[in-house]
Amino acid sequence: MTITVDLSIYSLDLVLRTCHVFTSRCFVTPRTVANGRIGVEFVARDEKDSLRDLAGAFSNALLDSHLRAVIATETHTIRELLVAQAFCEADLLDRGDIESDEHADPRGIAG
Protein backbone atom coordinates (compact mmCIF):
# COMPACT_ATOMS: atom_id res chain seq x y z
CA MET A 1 0.00 0.00 0.00
CA THR A 2 1.23 3.49 -0.85
CA ILE A 3 0.03 6.70 0.76
CA THR A 4 0.71 9.97 -1.02
CA VAL A 5 1.41 13.06 1.06
CA ASP A 6 1.31 16.66 -0.14
CA LEU A 7 4.55 18.29 0.97
CA SER A 8 2.98 21.73 0.90
CA ILE A 9 0.93 20.59 3.93
CA TYR A 10 3.51 18.44 5.77
CA SER A 11 7.24 18.97 5.52
CA LEU A 12 9.49 16.12 4.41
CA ASP A 13 11.09 16.01 7.86
CA LEU A 14 7.70 15.64 9.46
CA VAL A 15 6.66 12.85 7.08
CA LEU A 16 9.87 10.94 7.74
CA ARG A 17 9.53 11.31 11.50
CA THR A 18 6.03 9.92 11.26
CA CYS A 19 7.25 7.01 9.10
CA HIS A 20 9.69 6.10 11.87
CA VAL A 21 6.86 5.42 14.29
CA PHE A 22 5.41 2.84 11.88
CA THR A 23 8.57 0.80 11.53
CA SER A 24 7.40 -1.58 14.22
CA ARG A 25 4.23 -2.46 12.29
CA CYS A 26 5.55 -2.19 8.74
CA PHE A 27 8.45 -2.04 6.40
CA VAL A 28 8.28 1.57 5.32
CA THR A 29 9.75 2.97 2.10
CA PRO A 30 9.35 6.66 1.15
CA ARG A 31 9.55 7.41 -2.61
CA THR A 32 9.30 10.61 -4.61
CA VAL A 33 6.10 10.66 -6.67
CA ALA A 34 5.90 14.02 -8.40
CA ASN A 35 6.56 17.66 -7.71
CA GLY A 36 5.67 18.51 -4.20
CA ARG A 37 4.39 15.04 -3.31
CA ILE A 38 5.86 12.02 -1.64
CA GLY A 39 4.65 8.43 -1.69
CA VAL A 40 5.15 6.20 1.31
CA GLU A 41 4.97 2.47 0.70
CA PHE A 42 3.89 0.26 3.61
CA VAL A 43 4.31 -3.48 3.77
CA ALA A 44 2.71 -4.80 6.94
CA ARG A 45 4.92 -7.08 9.06
CA ASP A 46 1.82 -8.96 10.11
CA GLU A 47 -0.40 -9.96 7.20
CA LYS A 48 -3.50 -9.67 9.36
CA ASP A 49 -2.87 -5.95 9.94
CA SER A 50 -5.70 -4.07 8.18
CA LEU A 51 -4.59 -1.63 5.46
CA ARG A 52 -7.51 0.65 6.20
CA ASP A 53 -6.50 0.91 9.88
CA LEU A 54 -2.93 1.47 8.88
CA ALA A 55 -3.79 4.29 6.47
CA GLY A 56 -6.01 5.94 9.07
CA ALA A 57 -3.40 5.63 11.76
CA PHE A 58 -0.76 7.15 9.49
CA SER A 59 -2.99 10.14 8.63
CA ASN A 60 -3.69 10.75 12.29
CA ALA A 61 -0.03 10.35 13.14
CA LEU A 62 0.83 12.99 10.51
CA LEU A 63 -1.55 15.40 12.22
CA ASP A 64 0.03 14.62 15.58
CA SER A 65 3.48 15.19 14.13
CA HIS A 66 2.25 18.52 12.84
CA LEU A 67 0.96 19.47 16.30
CA ARG A 68 4.30 18.47 17.81
CA ALA A 69 6.07 20.69 15.32
CA VAL A 70 3.81 23.60 16.24
CA ILE A 71 4.48 23.03 19.95
CA ALA A 72 8.22 22.70 19.35
CA THR A 73 8.37 25.90 17.35
CA GLU A 74 6.48 27.88 19.96
CA THR A 75 8.23 26.48 23.02
CA HIS A 76 11.74 25.85 21.74
CA THR A 77 13.31 28.96 23.23
CA ILE A 78 11.50 28.64 26.54
CA ARG A 79 12.51 25.00 26.85
CA GLU A 80 16.19 25.76 26.37
CA LEU A 81 16.02 28.62 28.82
CA LEU A 82 14.24 26.54 31.46
CA VAL A 83 16.62 23.62 31.20
CA ALA A 84 19.62 25.94 31.30
CA GLN A 85 18.16 27.75 34.30
CA ALA A 86 17.51 24.45 36.06
CA PHE A 87 21.14 23.37 35.74
CA CYS A 88 22.75 26.69 36.37
CA GLU A 89 23.09 28.58 39.61
CA ALA A 90 23.33 31.84 37.70
CA ASP A 91 20.10 33.46 36.68
CA LEU A 92 19.43 33.18 32.99
CA LEU A 93 15.79 34.10 33.09
CA ASP A 94 15.02 37.76 33.23
CA ARG A 95 14.04 37.63 36.86
CA GLY A 96 12.78 41.14 36.95
CA ASP A 97 13.19 42.75 40.31
CA ILE A 98 13.94 39.65 42.36
CA GLU A 99 17.55 40.70 42.82
CA SER A 100 16.60 44.13 44.09
CA ASP A 101 15.79 44.34 47.80
CA GLU A 102 13.05 45.17 50.26
CA HIS A 103 14.32 48.70 50.82
CA ALA A 104 14.44 49.76 47.18
CA ASP A 105 11.22 47.76 46.60
CA PRO A 106 10.87 48.57 42.89
CA ARG A 107 7.65 46.55 42.66
CA GLY A 108 6.10 48.56 45.45
CA ILE A 109 5.23 45.43 47.40
CA ALA A 110 5.30 47.24 50.73
CA GLY A 111 2.68 49.62 49.37
Binding site: D97, I98, E99, E102, H103, G111
Partner: protein, 381 residues
Protein backbone atom coordinates in the same frame (compact mmCIF):
# COMPACT_ATOMS: atom_id res chain seq x y z
CA UNK B 1 -10.06 38.86 79.98
CA UNK B 2 -6.90 40.68 79.11
CA UNK B 3 -5.89 43.69 81.14
CA UNK B 4 -6.74 46.72 79.10
CA UNK B 5 -7.85 49.84 80.96
CA UNK B 6 -7.16 53.49 81.65
CA UNK B 7 -6.35 54.44 85.25
CA UNK B 8 -4.81 57.23 87.24
CA UNK B 9 -1.00 57.47 87.21
CA UNK B 10 1.59 59.37 89.18
CA UNK B 11 5.14 59.93 88.03
CA UNK B 12 4.82 58.06 84.74
CA UNK B 13 6.62 60.36 82.33
CA UNK B 14 7.42 57.76 79.63
CA UNK B 15 6.13 54.41 78.50
CA UNK B 16 7.10 51.76 81.06
CA UNK B 17 7.29 48.05 80.23
CA UNK B 18 7.95 45.56 82.97
CA UNK B 19 7.32 42.14 84.42
CA UNK B 20 4.83 42.06 87.23
CA UNK B 21 5.48 40.53 90.63
CA UNK B 22 3.54 40.06 93.81
CA UNK B 23 6.50 38.47 95.47
CA UNK B 24 8.90 41.12 96.75
CA UNK B 25 12.15 40.99 94.80
CA UNK B 26 15.60 41.40 96.26
CA UNK B 27 17.15 42.00 92.84
CA UNK B 28 15.96 42.97 89.39
CA UNK B 29 13.45 45.45 90.77
CA UNK B 30 14.13 47.95 87.98
CA UNK B 31 12.54 45.57 85.42
CA UNK B 32 9.45 44.88 87.53
CA UNK B 33 6.13 46.32 88.55
CA UNK B 34 5.11 45.50 92.09
CA UNK B 35 1.46 44.42 92.26
CA UNK B 36 -0.49 45.50 95.27
CA UNK B 37 -3.92 43.91 95.56
CA UNK B 38 -6.77 45.50 97.41
CA UNK B 39 -6.21 45.23 101.13
CA UNK B 40 -2.66 43.98 100.81
CA UNK B 41 -0.36 45.01 103.64
CA UNK B 42 1.97 47.90 103.04
CA UNK B 43 5.03 46.81 101.14
CA UNK B 44 8.52 48.05 100.45
CA UNK B 45 8.06 49.51 96.97
CA UNK B 46 11.44 51.14 96.59
CA UNK B 47 13.51 50.57 93.46
CA UNK B 48 10.78 49.04 91.33
CA UNK B 49 10.06 50.20 87.80
CA UNK B 50 6.66 51.07 89.18
CA UNK B 51 3.72 49.99 91.26
CA UNK B 52 0.34 48.71 90.08
CA UNK B 53 -2.26 49.01 92.81
CA UNK B 54 -5.93 48.20 93.01
CA UNK B 55 -6.68 50.87 95.56
CA UNK B 56 -4.99 54.18 96.21
CA UNK B 57 -1.35 53.77 96.93
CA UNK B 58 1.10 56.28 98.28
CA UNK B 59 3.75 54.02 99.79
CA UNK B 60 6.51 54.73 97.30
CA UNK B 61 7.25 58.42 97.01
CA UNK B 62 8.99 59.16 93.74
CA UNK B 63 8.15 55.80 92.18
CA UNK B 64 5.80 55.68 89.18
CA UNK B 65 2.44 54.42 90.30
CA UNK B 66 -0.71 53.31 88.50
CA UNK B 67 -3.56 53.03 90.93
CA UNK B 68 -7.27 52.52 91.02
CA UNK B 69 -7.08 49.43 88.83
CA UNK B 70 -10.31 47.47 89.10
CA UNK B 71 -8.58 44.25 90.02
CA UNK B 72 -5.35 42.41 89.34
CA UNK B 73 -6.43 38.79 89.80
CA UNK B 74 -5.65 37.87 86.21
CA UNK B 75 -2.03 38.95 86.48
CA UNK B 76 0.62 36.61 87.75
CA UNK B 77 4.30 36.82 88.42
CA UNK B 78 6.22 36.98 85.16
CA UNK B 79 3.46 38.54 83.07
CA UNK B 80 4.51 41.66 81.18
CA UNK B 81 2.58 44.92 81.34
CA UNK B 82 2.97 48.30 79.67
CA UNK B 83 1.92 51.56 81.34
CA UNK B 84 1.62 54.74 79.27
CA UNK B 85 1.91 58.28 80.71
CA UNK B 86 -1.77 58.64 79.74
CA UNK B 87 -2.67 55.94 82.26
CA UNK B 88 -3.35 53.32 79.62
CA UNK B 89 -2.40 49.93 81.08
CA UNK B 90 -2.16 46.80 78.94
CA UNK B 91 -0.91 43.26 79.45
CA UNK B 92 1.50 42.35 76.64
CA UNK B 93 2.33 38.84 77.73
CA UNK B 94 0.81 36.32 80.10
CA UNK B 95 3.05 33.56 81.25
CA UNK B 96 0.24 31.06 81.74
CA UNK B 97 -1.19 31.51 78.24
CA UNK B 98 -0.37 29.30 75.25
CA UNK B 99 -1.32 32.08 72.88
CA UNK B 100 1.02 34.99 73.39
CA UNK B 101 1.77 37.07 70.35
CA UNK B 102 3.37 40.32 69.34
CA UNK B 103 1.26 42.53 67.08
CA UNK B 104 4.24 43.78 65.09
CA UNK B 105 2.38 46.42 63.12
CA UNK B 106 -1.20 47.11 62.19
CA UNK B 107 -0.26 48.15 58.68
CA UNK B 108 -0.70 45.70 55.82
CA UNK B 109 0.05 45.60 52.10
CA UNK B 110 -2.86 43.27 51.35
CA UNK B 111 -6.52 43.67 52.19
CA UNK B 112 -7.87 40.14 52.29
CA UNK B 113 -11.62 39.96 51.80
CA UNK B 114 -11.92 37.90 54.98
CA UNK B 115 -9.31 39.68 57.10
CA UNK B 116 -10.04 39.11 60.78
CA UNK B 117 -7.86 42.00 61.90
CA UNK B 118 -8.40 44.82 59.41
CA UNK B 119 -5.24 46.86 58.95
CA UNK B 120 -4.83 50.49 59.94
CA UNK B 121 -2.86 53.02 57.98
CA UNK B 122 -1.29 54.68 61.02
CA UNK B 123 2.49 54.67 61.26
CA UNK B 124 3.18 52.47 64.27
CA UNK B 125 6.80 51.72 63.49
CA UNK B 126 7.80 53.42 66.76
CA UNK B 127 6.38 50.39 68.55
CA UNK B 128 9.37 48.31 67.49
CA UNK B 129 11.23 49.38 70.66
CA UNK B 130 8.29 48.18 72.76
CA UNK B 131 8.35 44.80 70.98
CA UNK B 132 12.09 44.40 71.49
CA UNK B 133 11.79 45.32 75.16
CA UNK B 134 8.95 42.83 75.53
CA UNK B 135 11.09 40.04 74.06
CA UNK B 136 13.75 40.82 76.68
CA UNK B 137 11.20 40.43 79.46
CA UNK B 138 9.39 37.29 78.31
CA UNK B 139 10.12 34.16 80.33
CA UNK B 140 12.67 32.10 78.32
CA UNK B 141 10.75 28.98 79.32
CA UNK B 142 7.81 30.12 77.17
CA UNK B 143 6.92 27.30 74.77
CA UNK B 144 5.51 29.33 71.94
CA UNK B 145 5.29 32.92 70.77
CA UNK B 146 3.50 34.40 67.76
CA UNK B 147 4.33 37.42 65.67
CA UNK B 148 1.38 38.79 63.79
CA UNK B 149 -0.06 41.93 62.26
CA UNK B 150 -0.98 43.61 59.97
CA UNK B 151 1.99 42.48 57.97
CA UNK B 152 5.08 42.08 60.19
CA UNK B 153 7.55 42.12 57.31
CA UNK B 154 6.61 45.72 56.55
CA UNK B 155 8.95 46.60 59.42
CA UNK B 156 11.70 45.22 57.14
CA UNK B 157 14.92 45.67 59.19
CA UNK B 158 12.72 45.88 62.28
CA UNK B 159 11.23 42.49 61.41
CA UNK B 160 14.69 40.95 61.12
CA UNK B 161 15.60 42.58 64.45
CA UNK B 162 12.58 40.99 66.12
CA UNK B 163 13.54 37.52 64.88
CA UNK B 164 17.17 38.03 65.84
CA UNK B 165 16.18 39.22 69.32
CA UNK B 166 13.96 36.17 69.79
CA UNK B 167 16.83 33.93 68.78
CA UNK B 168 19.09 35.69 71.26
CA UNK B 169 16.72 35.92 74.25
CA UNK B 170 14.24 33.09 73.66
CA UNK B 171 16.20 30.34 71.91
CA UNK B 172 13.89 27.63 73.29
CA UNK B 173 10.66 29.36 72.33
CA UNK B 174 8.96 28.21 69.10
CA UNK B 175 8.32 31.29 67.01
CA UNK B 176 5.34 31.36 64.67
CA UNK B 177 5.04 34.32 62.31
CA UNK B 178 1.93 35.16 60.31
CA UNK B 179 2.97 36.90 57.09
CA UNK B 180 1.81 37.07 53.49
CA UNK B 181 5.40 36.37 52.46
CA UNK B 182 5.23 38.88 49.64
CA UNK B 183 8.40 40.78 50.52
CA UNK B 184 10.42 37.55 50.29
CA UNK B 185 9.98 37.98 46.56
CA UNK B 186 13.24 39.86 47.04
CA UNK B 187 15.73 37.02 47.40
CA UNK B 188 18.05 38.96 49.67
CA UNK B 189 15.32 39.52 52.27
CA UNK B 190 14.83 35.75 52.58
CA UNK B 191 18.59 35.31 52.69
CA UNK B 192 18.88 37.75 55.60
CA UNK B 193 16.12 35.97 57.50
CA UNK B 194 17.77 32.60 56.85
CA UNK B 195 21.09 33.98 58.08
CA UNK B 196 19.59 34.65 61.51
CA UNK B 197 19.24 30.86 61.79
CA UNK B 198 16.46 30.93 64.38
CA UNK B 199 16.33 27.36 65.73
CA UNK B 200 12.54 27.04 65.82
CA UNK B 201 10.90 29.44 63.41
CA UNK B 202 7.90 28.87 61.15
CA UNK B 203 6.38 31.39 58.79
CA UNK B 204 2.65 30.83 58.25
CA UNK B 205 1.94 32.06 54.73
CA UNK B 206 -1.47 32.09 53.07
CA UNK B 207 -2.08 30.72 49.57
CA UNK B 208 -5.69 30.79 48.48
CA UNK B 209 -5.63 29.48 44.92
CA UNK B 210 -3.51 27.74 42.30
CA UNK B 211 -4.56 30.54 39.92
CA UNK B 212 -2.78 33.89 40.28
CA UNK B 213 -5.77 36.10 39.51
CA UNK B 214 -8.01 34.24 41.97
CA UNK B 215 -5.50 34.59 44.78
CA UNK B 216 -4.85 38.24 43.96
CA UNK B 217 -8.57 38.95 44.08
CA UNK B 218 -8.99 37.31 47.47
CA UNK B 219 -6.10 39.27 48.98
CA UNK B 220 -7.04 42.39 47.01
CA UNK B 221 -3.48 42.94 45.81
CA UNK B 222 -2.37 42.57 42.18
CA UNK B 223 0.88 40.62 41.87
CA UNK B 224 0.55 39.07 45.33
CA UNK B 225 0.43 35.47 44.04
CA UNK B 226 3.65 35.88 42.08
CA UNK B 227 5.36 37.50 45.06
CA UNK B 228 4.18 34.89 47.54
CA UNK B 229 5.03 31.77 45.49
CA UNK B 230 8.47 33.08 44.63
CA UNK B 231 8.86 34.14 48.25
CA UNK B 232 8.05 30.59 49.36
CA UNK B 233 10.80 29.22 47.13
CA UNK B 234 13.26 31.80 48.40
CA UNK B 235 12.46 30.91 52.00
CA UNK B 236 13.03 27.22 51.23
CA UNK B 237 16.32 28.05 49.58
CA UNK B 238 17.50 29.68 52.81
CA UNK B 239 16.06 26.91 54.97
CA UNK B 240 13.33 28.91 56.63
CA UNK B 241 10.40 26.62 57.49
CA UNK B 242 7.05 27.58 56.05
CA UNK B 243 3.47 26.61 56.77
CA UNK B 244 0.96 27.18 53.97
CA UNK B 245 -2.40 28.45 55.22
CA UNK B 246 -5.62 28.16 53.25
CA UNK B 247 -8.78 29.85 54.50
CA UNK B 248 -11.86 28.00 53.26
CA UNK B 249 -14.67 30.09 51.81
CA UNK B 250 -16.80 30.32 48.67
CA UNK B 251 -13.90 31.72 46.61
CA UNK B 252 -11.26 29.19 47.65
CA UNK B 253 -13.39 26.04 47.75
CA UNK B 254 -14.09 25.49 44.02
CA UNK B 255 -10.42 24.74 43.15
CA UNK B 256 -9.34 23.45 46.55
CA UNK B 257 -8.30 19.97 45.27
CA UNK B 258 -6.35 21.59 42.44
CA UNK B 259 -4.71 23.90 44.97
CA UNK B 260 -3.71 20.83 46.98
CA UNK B 261 -2.06 19.31 43.92
CA UNK B 262 -0.34 22.62 43.19
CA UNK B 263 1.04 22.75 46.73
CA UNK B 264 2.23 19.13 46.71
CA UNK B 265 4.03 19.67 43.40
CA UNK B 266 5.52 23.10 43.95
CA UNK B 267 6.00 23.37 47.70
CA UNK B 268 6.75 19.83 48.87
CA UNK B 269 9.08 21.37 51.44
CA UNK B 270 6.21 22.98 53.38
CA UNK B 271 6.28 21.99 57.05
CA UNK B 272 2.52 21.98 57.40
CA UNK B 273 -0.59 22.77 55.39
CA UNK B 274 -3.27 24.44 57.51
CA UNK B 275 -6.84 24.32 56.17
CA UNK B 276 -8.85 26.84 58.14
CA UNK B 277 -12.52 27.62 58.59
CA UNK B 278 -13.63 31.20 58.12
CA UNK B 279 -13.35 33.38 61.21
CA UNK B 280 -16.53 35.47 61.45
CA UNK B 281 -14.92 38.72 62.35
CA UNK B 282 -13.34 41.77 60.75
CA UNK B 283 -13.89 42.33 57.04
CA UNK B 284 -15.79 39.07 56.57
CA UNK B 285 -19.08 40.75 57.37
CA UNK B 286 -18.60 43.33 54.65
CA UNK B 287 -17.87 40.58 52.09
CA UNK B 288 -20.11 37.89 53.48
CA UNK B 289 -22.21 37.48 50.36
CA UNK B 290 -19.11 36.60 48.29
CA UNK B 291 -17.46 34.47 50.96
CA UNK B 292 -20.07 32.47 52.81
CA UNK B 293 -20.46 28.79 52.19
CA UNK B 294 -21.84 26.43 54.80
CA UNK B 295 -18.96 24.16 55.88
CA UNK B 296 -21.36 21.25 55.64
CA UNK B 297 -21.52 21.95 51.90
CA UNK B 298 -17.78 21.78 51.18
CA UNK B 299 -16.84 18.52 52.86
CA UNK B 300 -16.33 16.77 49.51
CA UNK B 301 -13.75 19.30 48.31
CA UNK B 302 -12.10 19.46 51.71
CA UNK B 303 -11.79 15.70 51.92
CA UNK B 304 -10.42 15.44 48.40
CA UNK B 305 -7.83 18.16 49.04
CA UNK B 306 -6.80 16.66 52.36
CA UNK B 307 -6.41 13.23 50.76
CA UNK B 308 -4.17 14.63 48.02
CA UNK B 309 -1.92 16.29 50.58
CA UNK B 310 -1.85 13.38 53.01
CA UNK B 311 -1.13 10.97 50.13
CA UNK B 312 1.78 13.15 49.11
CA UNK B 313 3.17 12.78 52.61
CA UNK B 314 2.42 16.32 53.74
CA UNK B 315 1.44 17.24 57.26
CA UNK B 316 -2.13 18.53 57.17
CA UNK B 317 -4.06 20.27 59.94
CA UNK B 318 -7.66 21.42 59.85
CA UNK B 319 -8.53 24.37 62.08
CA UNK B 320 -11.67 26.26 63.07
CA UNK B 321 -14.14 23.53 62.25
CA UNK B 322 -16.90 22.23 64.46
CA UNK B 323 -16.72 18.46 64.50
CA UNK B 324 -20.44 17.99 63.85
CA UNK B 325 -20.08 19.46 60.36
CA UNK B 326 -16.65 17.98 59.66
CA UNK B 327 -16.51 14.68 57.76
CA UNK B 328 -15.77 11.97 60.32
CA UNK B 329 -12.83 10.80 58.19
CA UNK B 330 -11.17 14.18 58.66
CA UNK B 331 -11.34 14.22 62.44
CA UNK B 332 -7.83 12.86 62.78
CA UNK B 333 -6.58 16.04 61.05
CA UNK B 334 -8.70 18.46 63.09
CA UNK B 335 -6.85 20.59 65.64
CA UNK B 336 -8.41 22.54 68.44
CA UNK B 337 -6.98 25.91 67.52
CA UNK B 338 -9.34 28.53 68.83
CA UNK B 339 -7.46 30.21 71.63
CA UNK B 340 -8.50 29.90 75.24
CA UNK B 341 -10.14 33.29 75.55
CA UNK B 342 -12.13 33.12 72.34
CA UNK B 343 -13.96 29.84 72.02
CA UNK B 344 -17.53 29.31 73.02
CA UNK B 345 -20.29 26.78 72.43
CA UNK B 346 -23.93 27.12 71.43
CA UNK B 347 -27.20 25.95 72.94
CA UNK B 348 -27.28 23.33 70.15
CA UNK B 349 -24.03 21.98 71.58
CA UNK B 350 -25.72 20.96 74.83
CA UNK B 351 -25.52 17.25 75.33
CA UNK B 352 -22.88 16.82 72.62
CA UNK B 353 -20.47 14.04 73.48
CA UNK B 354 -17.69 15.43 71.29
CA UNK B 355 -17.50 18.78 73.07
CA UNK B 356 -14.16 17.99 74.65
CA UNK B 357 -12.54 17.33 71.30
CA UNK B 358 -14.29 20.16 69.48
CA UNK B 359 -12.88 23.64 68.91
CA UNK B 360 -16.32 25.20 69.22
CA UNK B 361 -16.78 28.73 67.90
CA UNK B 362 -14.99 32.02 67.95
CA UNK B 363 -16.84 34.26 70.31
CA UNK B 364 -17.38 36.58 67.38
CA UNK B 365 -18.66 33.85 65.10
CA UNK B 366 -21.76 32.33 66.55
CA UNK B 367 -24.30 34.41 64.66
CA UNK B 368 -23.41 33.25 61.16
CA UNK B 369 -22.70 29.58 61.25
CA UNK B 370 -23.44 26.28 59.63
CA UNK B 371 -27.13 25.48 59.53
CA UNK B 372 -26.25 21.93 60.47
CA UNK B 373 -24.70 22.33 63.91
CA UNK B 374 -25.99 19.49 66.08
CA UNK B 375 -24.99 17.52 69.15
CA UNK B 376 -23.17 14.25 68.55
CA UNK B 377 -23.89 11.17 70.58
CA UNK B 378 -20.97 9.13 71.84
CA UNK B 379 -21.82 6.29 69.49
CA UNK B 380 -21.10 8.69 66.61
CA UNK B 381 -18.20 10.33 68.33
Amino acid sequence: MRLHEVVAVNGVDRQLIGRVTRTPLSSGRSDAFLLIDDGAPAADAAGYLGVLAVGDFSGAPGSPVAHGLRHLDYLDDGDVVVVDPTGFVRALYRRASQHNFILATEQCNSLCLMCSQPPKTIDDSHRLAEHLRLIDLIDPATAELGITGGEPTLLRDGFLQLIARCRERLPHTALHVLTNGRLFFYRSFAEKLGAIAHPDLVLGIPLYSDIDSHHDHIVQAPGAFEETVIGLHHLDRYEVRVEIRVVLHALSIPRLPQLATFIARNFPFAWQIALMGLEMTGLVHRNLRALWIDPADYQKELREAAAILVDAGMHVSIYNHQLCVLDRRLWSLARKSISDWKNVYLPECNGCDALEQCGGFFQSGTRIRSARIHPLSSSAA
